[in-house]
Amino acid sequence: MEDSIPKMRVENLDVSYFDKQALFSINLDITKNNITALIGPSGCGKSTFLRCLNRMNDVIDGCVVKGKVELDGSTIYDQRIDPVTLRAKVGIVFQKPNPFPKSIYDNVAYGPRIHGLANTNSELDDIVEKSLIRAGLWDEVKDRISDSGTSLSGGQQQRLCIARAIAVNPQVLLMDEPCSALDPIATARIEELMDELRNRYTIVIVTHSMQQAARVAQYTAFFHMGYLVEKGATEKMFTTPDDKRTQDYITGRFG
């Protein structure tokens, strides 16, 4: 992962929940304008790792994070950093689409409003439209923008959540199994969307689907029992992995 500029850099990261250590000395660079996939069995620490990248762990009881996490060379675990501002820069999309029980418009407008990104209503309209276009949802919702976000289908709701995340101009987009609740068509739409989004954003995705990682990601990192076992170019990981644990996992041999 040395060939392009790291957007985020993680060094010697340890994470514990109370006395149970979940991550052990993780070192990983997240390269700019690429998609990095985090794979590994349930409980391996990949979601914990993802949540460290925008300090979502701050709100989890008993969670202690040690080590260095940098965004563009500046540490994000600093008392002077406002986590809310950080999370606008490093947005997140979850496994289950979770639109606010508000209109489609308000779902997308919420972030720009609280961050004061628009001075006038027409500026806000503009941000909402642009975000929905970038999330590939605009054509499907432009005539029903005042309908409730929860009235959309699962795949549309997930794209609404992506629109909501990108409405505040993030630099990095974290995705925690964004397609696991979606059908294959909706999944294909999101994957296609991710490929477009990476021109503008740096993306980190946690996925249980090896095929999805192989399809969308330029880089893949394999986690196992709290350790980062192997990282590298996706194609290499899926054809000739170096570590036996990686191989056993991706070929379905884990005992």
């Binding site: 192989a214 899926f238 054809t239 000739t240 036996k244 191989q247 070929t251 379905g252």
Partner: protein
Amino acid sequence: MSLEDNNQEHIVRSYSEELNLLTSTVVRMGGITESQLNLSIKAIENLDVSKADLAIKSDLELDNFEKEIEGLVTRLFVLRQPMAVDLRNVMAALKISSDLERIGDYAKNIAIRSKSITDDKVLPIMEGLVSMGTLASECLRNVLDGYQALDSEAALEAWRKDEEIDKLYTNVFVEVVNFMEKNSGSVNSGTHLAFIGKNIERIGDLTTNIAEEIYFMVRGERLTDDRPKADKTATITSNEVIND
């Protein structure tokens, strides 16, 4: 991560079974190819028509094997989406079966040509072709043993030996051309001999392809060295041959 270190079964047992079936089918196909090649060599050694007919007949069997392997591979891709070693394994099976089928075609062609040679005068030249064929058959056997044993070194050794086949071919080619220069009535038989030599040389090349596929399957890295080559026949002119 090489294939030799891979001893664990898949969680889904039927997946392992399907992969094992694929490998054993390739091994069986390899066995048939080898005996077909041996029959063709026997056919030219003694101009034995019955051996030639057997070699010609077994080609159909190889075609069926190739189709069977194609079916197994398609099924594995669709149902299992193989990754890493498994992916390399399946890819190798597909490519090796197609190389074996081509070897079978050449062996069949050798057998057919052996039936068209009616001229006893060519028999002394035949010796060179038989040595070539025997060596090609030996290489094929070693490569196939390497496939079964996941032994990339054995495959590599056979890969290197192809140079000897090329050298023999160059010699045989010169002999054949000399022979035709001296015996103008034997051009028909002589031409068949030249083609038989070419066929064996191609069989050697296909065998090295198989060796390369095995190497990648086992090691996960490509053979990057240039293979030693000693086939000079393409540059031989008539004058050189006569002065040889």
